[in-house]
Symmetry: D2
Subunit: 415 residues, 4 copies
């Protein structure tokens, strides 16, 4: 079924080859070589609902098979996925040894560096071009060279880079024309993430923004995707604490329990954490993390339950944790007659272990959307994101169950 559609190699280009990208790539290879279970991947393990016999999505949709995937990318520090995996410290010694040969073949080109957006990283592998127009052109060539060189029939671009210093999108992000004019005048408000996304679309590839950086928040880029007939999705993977938060928040909201406050703190010691130690970079995260409760604990509809609710999110760079992020949530809720209760959640998770299967899913689903000719924002992928971009006229939700229903509906429609 769908033999032709899925024939040929599918390139997955990771803009930022850090912990998430290298963990995803290593896991795909271990699934291919050693039959390791791709735990957490809906596109691999998810069952088609309403079927008599057990069938998985890959049985009924032209999802790129794991064997068809080829990987590439750019990075400011690492030269290949093997180095990235070693730096990340996510994989244990045995898994690292078992994949090192393959990971070494996944090369990373040089990336775009703008110290106005990321200051704390030692960007030793920045591209030589300095003007934004030149950088844009260089990235278009970089993408094309990779996909062509790898003999790919199709390809996708994943933004898996670090969190950049936050800048509110402005006039220049309103239209493609304004954006290109800003590129031409080297406007500092054009971020590397936006250049990466634009170049991908220009080169003809769909884009997924796994970061909190404002990309889909720029109407210019969304419009450009529509004009190019390419799908785009984002933003900011909803992997650990925020996933749990939307789950528990929805549960409290649906029980009509009141909430006085929700305090969330995170400690993590990976490169992601280091970058977020800079307040301007944390700002981006604060925005995507801060809004997730608004529709679940709706103060407009239920001021008697949620008006004045205090919601705080803190992230601390804490080296002893390494990639093993840890979150602590303290929730002050109230029930019948206003009597107070406390809920505490302590999640000792692993950032990249949670993110890797989501990234794999997104690569395959955005590729599926491209195959189906879907253009513009793919809001049916909202369950993957902290800040799910809506299509025009849609009101985005953070309710995972509503999001998953939308995803199932779309997949069934394409069956």
């Amino acid at each position: 079924m769908n033999q032709q559609a899925t024939s040929g190699r599918v390139g997955v280009f990771c803009v930022g080859m850090g912990a998430v990208a290298s963990t995803m790539i290593a896991g795909v290879e271990l699934a291919r070589r050693a039959g390791r279970v791709p735990v957490g991947s809906l596109s691999e393990l998810g069952a088609v609902p309403g079927e008599a016999a057990e069938r998985r999505w890959a049985d009924v949709l032209p999802l790129a098979p794991l064997d068809a995937l080829v990987f590439g990318g750019v990075d400011l520090i690492e030269t290949d996925a093997a180095g990235a995996a070693r730096t990340a410290g996510v994989l244990d010694a045995a898994d690292l040894a078992a994949t090192a040969d393959f990971l070494a073949t996944v090369k990373a080109g040089r990336g775009l560096h703008d110290p106005g957006y990321v200051r704390l990283l030692p960007a030793v592998r920045a591209r030589p071009e300095t003007g934004k127009r030149a950088q844009l052109g260089a990235m278009v060539r970089e993408y094309r060279a990779f996909f062509a060189g790898a003999g790919c029939a199709r390809g996708v671009v994943l933004l898996t880079l670090s969190t950049e210093a936050w800048r509110d999108p402005g006039e220049l992000h309103a239209t493609p024309e304004a954006f290109l004019a800003a590129v031409d005048r080297d406007d500092p408000a054009v971020s590397p993430s936006q250049l990466y996304a634009w170049a991908a679309l220009e080169a003809g590839y769909p884009v997924v923004n796994c970061t909190p950086n404002p990309v889909l928040d720029a109407p210019a880029i969304v419009t450009f995707a529509e004009r190019r007939g390419l799908p785009i999705a984002g933003s900011d993977l909803k992997s650990g604490q925020t996933y749990m938060k939307t789950i528990v928040g929805a549960a409290l909201g649906k029980r009509l329990l009141g909430v006085h406050g929700w305090f969330s703190t995170n400690i993590l010691g990976n490169r992601d954490g280091l970058v977020l130690d800079e307040p301007q970079n944390f700002r981006a995260k604060e925005i995507t993390k801060g809004g997730v409760l608004d529709d679940l604990l709706d103060a407009k509809r239920h001021p008697e339950l949620y008006a004045g609710m205090e919601h705080q999110v803190h992230i601390h760079y804490y080296p002893p944790k390494g990639d093993n992020k840890e979150a602590w949530d303290a929730i002050q809720l109230f029930g019948w007659l206003g009597y107070g209760m406390e809920l505490k959640i302590n999640f000792q998770c692993r950032d990249s272990i949670l993110a890797a299967p989501l990234v794999l899913d997104l690569a395959r689903f955005i590729d599926l959307a491209a195959q189906k000719g879907a253009a513009g924002v793919q809001s049916w992928l909202g369950n993957y994101f902290k800040n799910p971009a809506p299509r025009p006229g849609e009101i985005p939700t953070n309710d995972v169950h509503v999001q998953l229903a939308a995803l199932e509906r779309q997949l069934l429609a394409w069956r």
Copy 2:
């Protein structure tokens, strides 16, 4: 709207006037007298989905208004709801003072006591009848006397008594005829809960089983409800730890994350906890609490994720907590490549504060079902229960979101 349907008093008869019943009654009275918000009550605060303007369920359905509710019951210890509230220690001094006069008017008759089912309670107010047939007849008269005496147009019976020692339903629970024969021969396998439920149906009132005691597990009783044309629902309120567990369990299952083990411990110091200190009584709870993860973390569909999962539930009677139950869950999960993570949830909740609005909702919804002529198991109320009884042919789910969707569908159908 629906004026006639809701006119007249609606009696709510609580079989067991303990912490939950008295807290619910006090809260209803505080809402009536003082406009206190009935936090946690879907029947009061829940919004009708898909409506342009904000409308609540009570605006579109003939739900009994709070002002129409009158309360009564039986208890083995307390003589009225005021005493029950004082013993329970749930309400603070101000709320107790503000409702004491009203609660003192809510009298409790004598209850059925069988030391083979509850051993640790000092049942000082047991009815004098000793044979089960005589007890059945006495309860029929008790119900009728209360509802008539209170001038009720309609009425419902809520089983809010203590957890009984567990006995698997047997032959005698298969048909109404077998059950009555067992009553006649004073078979010890006929429990007080079953007598209470049967008598209510015989007297012509719908029944909600808020306890883990096997009532709807007895086909005899369900068949009898159908024959009598009366609705029935249960079992075991899903209020605190188990509600959180089904929420988080569903979230892990939907992300296809694996689980090695789930350890749950509970400490509570109320009358409920004292009774559960007896292993045979705990057994009932263990059964309703133990199964809630089975369909959410489905080992048949996903043996690679859930086969061999260890699930333990412990409850300890711990007087320092009083009614303030506390739960601790430790979950050992795994993600991509099998890498392990830990999730800990500490819920300092209040048993009766969480349960009271659910009991209110159930009273009004079962009354609604009775008004609509619905007979037999009301499985659309499944979201309220740990062990939701299905209708014939239905596969029950513990997924709150599926359960809530069913509830909304039923309510919209009756609009």
Copy 3:
């Protein structure tokens, strides 16, 4: 025994009549009126070690009896202890009602306000004097007027005000002469706390610094206390998280277990928390809180266990908590062969409930020291402080058990 020494009233002057002071005063009054147990007070409940019969310290030392204590103070917002208690929200309704009449008699004069030190408080009751010399003189008169007006035989001054913006002590804090010169020239480096302390000593009263503000860190003030023959002690009450931290830190250190990191976060919603939301004010707290592990987990003596240990302390103003501070500590430790373990401590405490008995103890013990003619730093009170000031030549410790041994030795010596 010691009848004369303890005869007469003993004035306790609280510089800052907030949550801690009002809670302490209310509790003393409830102990006097209603026999409530002064839980947490060593000076009341502590037993004399090594005695055959059970005897408490008050039986063998001329500690001021509770009945002899009279209270006064200054505050920038409240006019009396009743208002302070209401604002603080620590006492429940019954205790507030039972003490309101008495608390209303405990008046607060106007305080010294310097917006360079505390910015976020609405200081509506600042003294009119503007120059520091004038302020110093005014406070000397304020103290004398209170103690004389209340007919006190003896008196003590407790600094219980808010945390000020941090400034490292400098040249002007080196000697009494330099300090007075700085006062005369209105040097902004002279803080309100330092003026309060100096004025107390000038007026002839011993001083306890319950705050993290640098007072005993100024040699000028310590020297002045010595010259005046008056005892002084501080700094920063060790009440909740830090007390637990020194306890657990000492326990790990004595077992020679290694520590990779210690992450501490605090949420609190009282006036104290509001002030600490200003980074410059938090700085003071950070200093006193940050150093407490240094001698307990000694990286110099045991670099193999503690070198490079990450220690972070965060405090967040979080209104839903009110005075009920909550702390979460996450400790990454390691044992035999370097294998890692995790320890999490969640302390839901009450700031003022923990601090009140310590303040009572300190008032009585510094008064005892004054009776005994002890001058200068009273380092035997170190167990009460996060940043215990040592006497010249002493190396301060944060080991509670060593500190308590020193306290017992001193008290036994004065028996």
Copy 4:
């Protein structure tokens, strides 16, 4: 210094070669071969107090050097320490590989099996002797054969076996004569642990009881040790939750804070946990764990703070945890005016990693005591035990700081 005393090999005989013994042995070997730090070992890392230069205990006392230690033992399942280490699953793959050759040389003889004392273990390597007198004689020969065969100048016997079903010591445990008579008549009240200990003393070796089994609780055995001029110490290693409990309990007691309740639950999945799943075996643990708060939170001295305190300890066999024991403590405390607070401690520890250095210390310290000619109970080692056996007339304490002071005093006396 002390050259002669420490010359020659010192045999360490482990009765029960399970997780603790094999982890200790592997760690000693890794310290010898690879310079790994013996974290947690006071006898290796502890500094001599009051010394000008940094000196460790091994510098001033004739403690057996690591290089002098030779290991042996018996076990009911494992044939050598390599198998024990593999079964235990404590060591990671690298450490297991690095020590496997050495561990394979540490052979375990057959052990004494009595199904009346341990039921759940598959005791495949029980000794053939059936009568208790024959078993006693066999163990005397086993000890002598090992120490002689290994060319040991000195030796110690450590009881590191599983927890046995509890039996209160009785008449037969009162005197050596009564005990031997009971052995002769094969009295079932004579436990394997008691036989192991007696045989060791008879063979001339000091004994440490690392288990909760009643050995030092039998006056017969203590008297026999005194008659044989041999030191003996116990019982039950205080490694994880209980160590933290005595620390925190002492801290609350010294602050005179009240405690309403202390709830402790433990989950662990190792062989130890399996054995404790049997109620009779858990009983032994319950006794040693249950009493540790009694002198720290002293209800006799402070009934106003501790009378009626609820103290519960639960242990659950929970396979997902393996050797990584996890404990959760919930403490309900109260302070000034009786206001309540909550303290929660979650310790994710590793049983054998915490115990291994304690076992090493005990082996060396009991050997030191033997060198010094100390006979009978060595109560100065109390800090190592949950249930520290006192010398006649001593009142045992669970205060770690008092215990450590006693240990330091004894070591300094022997310097």
